[in-house]
Amino acid sequence: MTLLKLENIGKRYGDVQALDGVSLSVEPASRTAVVGPSGSGKSTLLRIVAGFEFPDTGRVLFDGRLLADGPAGIPAHKRGIGIVFQDGALFPHLSVADNIAFGFERGAADRARRIADLLDMVELEAAMATRRPHQLSGGQQQRVALARALGRKPRLMLLDEPFSALDTGLRETMRKAVARVLENAGITAILVTHDQTEALSFADQVAVLRGGRLIQAGAPQTLYRQPRDRETALFLGDAVLLPAVAESGFADCALGRVPVDGDHAGKVEIMLRPEQIHIAAGNAPPREGMRVVDVQFGGAVATVAVRLPDASLPPILIRTSGFGLPAPGDTVRLTVAGEAHVFSPVNSLS
């Protein structure tokens, strides 16, 4: 059964079409990441699910209940959907305990115990309860914001870029902690982010938005390996794009003959992730014209730029181990692991 269903959501602000026919389904106890560049409409989508805004067209169904049908619907405070904001949005005039208990029913008898449980759940010490928001670090504020939202026992938790204000190291820790907490509580989550690494590592389902349209939704690995078009490919990570001629499961390109997915024939554009390409070891005979033009040592990972025999193509950047690096000027042989992805012809270069 689907927990949340968005049907053909459209939203316009003046001349700007913020969302255009977006449909998405979210399964119970799953984690969905909505990812897109800024201005892609992802925050608007989240605000429509939360009930802070209403769509011009389309429907929002949650747990069998119709939340919004065009501009009419149920307001946020009657939806029972939790949300954690980018900066936590803690109430600056209340202590941590009062923030967490803010959403409790009036006169809840077990207030103190519930606050303690929630603090424990988000891995904060009980001593934090008396602190004020401005006395907390960024990560602690986000944990309190999560505890506050969890206090209402929502079935769906919306996460509006909650990690983007944190330091890189803390961001990863928090991401794992939040995923763990939500999983233990069996709560469905929707994360909005512009960080593709965050989206890919957090979610079971990733939805890519661009210009208000849903470009592609699916499992992270599917999206990463088989993006619908080159923009999506480049948005989700570095990519090597090459013209090729495909025939019965293989394609001939500047790297030689590589296996490809799908059934394509004729002129196509293929995509490889840089980590699929390796410099062949020692005694393999180098290929004519494949010359190393630049080597950048970066500690654990080094970047090697290799010029292809076809000089009209840009050099390929390969990430490799910092050991046994070739020198600029060396000719090398490149091997490809796994399959290359072929964009469906509509989107490929003619």
């Binding site: 939360a50 405070h77 029972g80 904001f85 209402r152």
Partner: protein, 526 residues
């Protein structure tokens, strides 16, 4: 004189590299700031000394009598009624203009601030000539709310603009209805703004003389002026002055207690999304009643009455006396503005460039004196000159000294901000580029601080233009400003003759209103 020595101090180079909190850097500036601070303690010191001098028995007979009790009680009633009403009006107006789609929100916002251009005693002049029967507490509260609510509207509207709307969204997602969100989340976050504005109004209510004298409502301040006018150095007036100062200090203390030691700033980083305006829909028309009604009461009534008197008077009421009072006022305003700003320079400088514990104490002296009622400052200066410096009694020097004391905080605010915009690093960069310390100071810091200093002069000058109480008590005989001339004419019930003076005060005050509006926009980062 003060200005000359300040300039001299600027010429003295000092080591900019060594800055420690324990030592006293910037020696000469420090001495000057300390002198100004000492001077600003004069009124308080005077009250203390008089209390000690007359002895406990006299204090008891002068203070503990039914008349003083009545005055305290009526002042209390005035505060207790005016403040909550002003808060309600100001918060409702701020919410309507900042957070709803009320038609003409920008216009209403302007109209909410403009009443400040009308001096409080002109407000009551307008109302008394419209409703001659307006008297006593009810009338006092009514006119006071109209004249002073903008002092609350300004900070509350600015705070509303600054609130992070995500916090309100969070409350809604936790199940609060819009009404509950307002009372449990928005209103508590406005507490600092409400406290600050309320304190300002409360202090004005304590020190205001003209407004309440006009509608025959006796407060501590009107009683002091009455006593003063019957005998110049009466212990009775001084003692009521002591009670008034005690009330002031009590107000400051209450505000500190209510405000608490809290931080209501936005917790997160980054910029807040601008808040969405709530749709009034079918409530639009009823909602328009408040701003429109207020505009009629606060601006319409004074302007219509003034216009009517001006029309009735025709050209005949604009005579040589009018221009004379105008000239005197402008001269005093400019001299007072420059003097107060010059007096504030050393402290503003120290508090930015060499902050420390002692400096904070000195700075507090600069600020507290602005919350003293004009009557108390004037009383202290008159009594001191009469006793010790008789040649200075009723001279321009004393009048200007009074202005400096009353408006020192206004001068500080603008100066501090502009000196802070000229960080010491810029001066050091200039020195690294071959300027002497003196040149660096002149070419970089003073240049950057000049607009702030000009704003300070203007703020003080505009304050002086509308100052009535201290001017009445301190001005040399025969010297009339717009305010005092207006006052003596209305005392003779010559409302027609008084109109040109009121009109000129309003005109001169309009720029202040524009300045305040611009400032509140800027603090909100817009």
């Amino acid at each position: 004189m003060l200005q000359d020595s300040t300039a001299e101090a600027f010429e003295t180079p000092w080591p900019t590299g060594k800055r420690t909190r324990t030592s006293l850097p910037h020696g000469p500036v420090f001495v000057l700031a300390a002198l100004v601070a000492l001077f600003s303690l004069l009124p308080l010191g005077f009250i203390g000394w008089v209390t000690y001098d007359v002895g406990w028995e006299t204090v008891k007979t002068l203070v503990f009598r039914p008349r003083v009790g009545e005055l305290i009680l009526s002042t209390l009633y005035l505060e207790a009624l005016t403040i909550p009403l002003s808060i309600a009006v100001a918060v409702a107006m701020a919410w309507l203009t900042e957070r709803t789609d009320i038609p003409g929100a920008r216009l209403w916002a302007w109209l909410a601030i403009t009443p400040l251009a009308v001096p409080a005693f002109v407000h009551s002049y307008a109302w008394v000539s419209l409703v001659p029967g307006m008297r006593g507490l009810a009338g006092g509260v009514f006119v006071a709310v109209l004249a002073y609510y903008p002092f609350l509207y300004l900070p509350v509207a600015a705070a509303l603009r600054r609130l992070d709307p995500a916090v309100e969204d969070a409350a809604a997602s936790l199940g609060l209805s819009p009404l509950a969100v307002f009372f449990r989340v928005v209103l508590p976050q406005l507490r600092l703004a409400i406290c600050g504005g309320s304190l300002l109004i409360a202090l004005h209510l304590l020190s205001e003389y003209g407004l309440f004298a006009m509608i025959r409502f006796d407060t501590l301040s009107t009683a002091i002026v009455d006593q003063f006018q019957s005998s110049y150095n009466s212990p009775a007036a001084n003692m009521i002055g002591g009670v008034l100062v005690a009330c002031c200090l009590a107000l400051l203390g209450i505000e500190v207690l209510v405000r608490g030691n809290e931080r209501y700033a936005r917790v997160g980083t980054g910029t807040a999304r601008p808040a969405e305006r709530r749709r009034l829909a079918r409530f639009t028309l009823p909602a328009l009643i408040l701003p429109a009604g207020l505009a009629v009461l606060t601006l319409g009534v004074p302007l219509v009455t003034l216009g009517r008197w001006l029309w009735l008077g025709g050209a005949g009421i604009w005579d040589g006396e009018t221009t004379g009072a105008m000239g005197t006022t402008l001269m005093l305003a400019l001299a007072g503005g420059v003097l107060a700003t010059a007096a504030a320079v050393p402290m503003a400088w120290l508090s930015v460039r060499a902050p420390g514990r002692l400096q904070r104490l000195l700075e507090a002296c600069h600020y507290y004196v602005g919350s003293l009622p004009g009557v108390v400052v004037a009383l202290a200066l008159v009594s001191i000159t009469v006793r010790f410096l008789l040649p200075l009694y009723q001279t321009f020097a004393m009048l200007l000294a009074g202005y400096v004391l009353l408006f020192l905080p206004r001068a500080m605010v603008g100066l501090r901000a502009s000196i802070a915009q000229a960080p010491v690093e810029l001066e050091r960069a200039a020195m690294a580029l071959g300027r002497t310390p003196g040149q660096a100071m002149r070419q970089v810091t003073l240049r950057l601080a000049a607009p702030g200093a000009a704003a300070s002069v203007a703020l003080v000058a505009l304050g002086i233009t509308n100052e009535l109480t201290a001017t009445l008590m301190l001005a040399p005989t025969g010297i009339e400003t717009l305010a005092t001339r207006f006052w003596s004419l209305t005392s003779e019930i010559d409302y027609v003759g008084a109109a040109p003076y009121a009109a000129m005060m309003v005109l001169l005050s309009l720029p202040l209103t524009l300045l305040l509006h611009a400032q509140s926009k800027r603090t909100a980062g817009q």
